[in-house]
Symmetry: C2
Subunit: 85 residues, 2 copies
């Protein structure tokens, strides 16, 4: 499964969230990560996020895709995918 995660997390918690996601996924930009994960990894990521965020204030949206989606970039690519492929 391929996931894209976008988050809107308060500044007090955002660095821990970023550090955690970096262990599992590819950082795309700002508050966006993506990557191929197994079902077990997906569950671990969700459990980890639930521990790190405040569910009453923060928001994380996870898009679940079958495979890496087509993408177009306008402007600069902050962290090119080619580097990891």
């Amino acid at each position: 499964m391929y996931i894209v995660i976008v988050y809107d997390v308060s500044v007090e918690r955002v660095n821990r969230v970023k550090k955690f996601l970096r262990q599992h996924l590819h950082w795309v930009q700002n508050s966006v990560f993506e990557g191929e994960v197994t079902m077990a990894e997906f569950e671990r990521i969700k459990a980890g996020l639930r521990e790190l965020i405040n569910e009453d204030e923060d928001s994380v949206v996870i898009y679940k895709l079958r495979s890496q989606p087509f993408r177009e970039v306008i402007g600069m690519e902050k962290n090119p995918m080619e580097d990891i492929m």
Copy 2:
């Protein structure tokens, strides 16, 4: 076609980008929009973004999907999709 747009745009330009995308797509969170678009709308959105951003400093990533993807939300949903469906 269904698109998800994430952007990382300098603070001087971000409000104009948000205002422009709101005319075409559903605001999800922070700097994320998504929605169903025709090919013509997709081209208009890209042309509009190219005019609004500074391509040397800002970054916009557009994920192109066949249909609205499955999604999971952890924490609060800032702008529920159900409102427009």
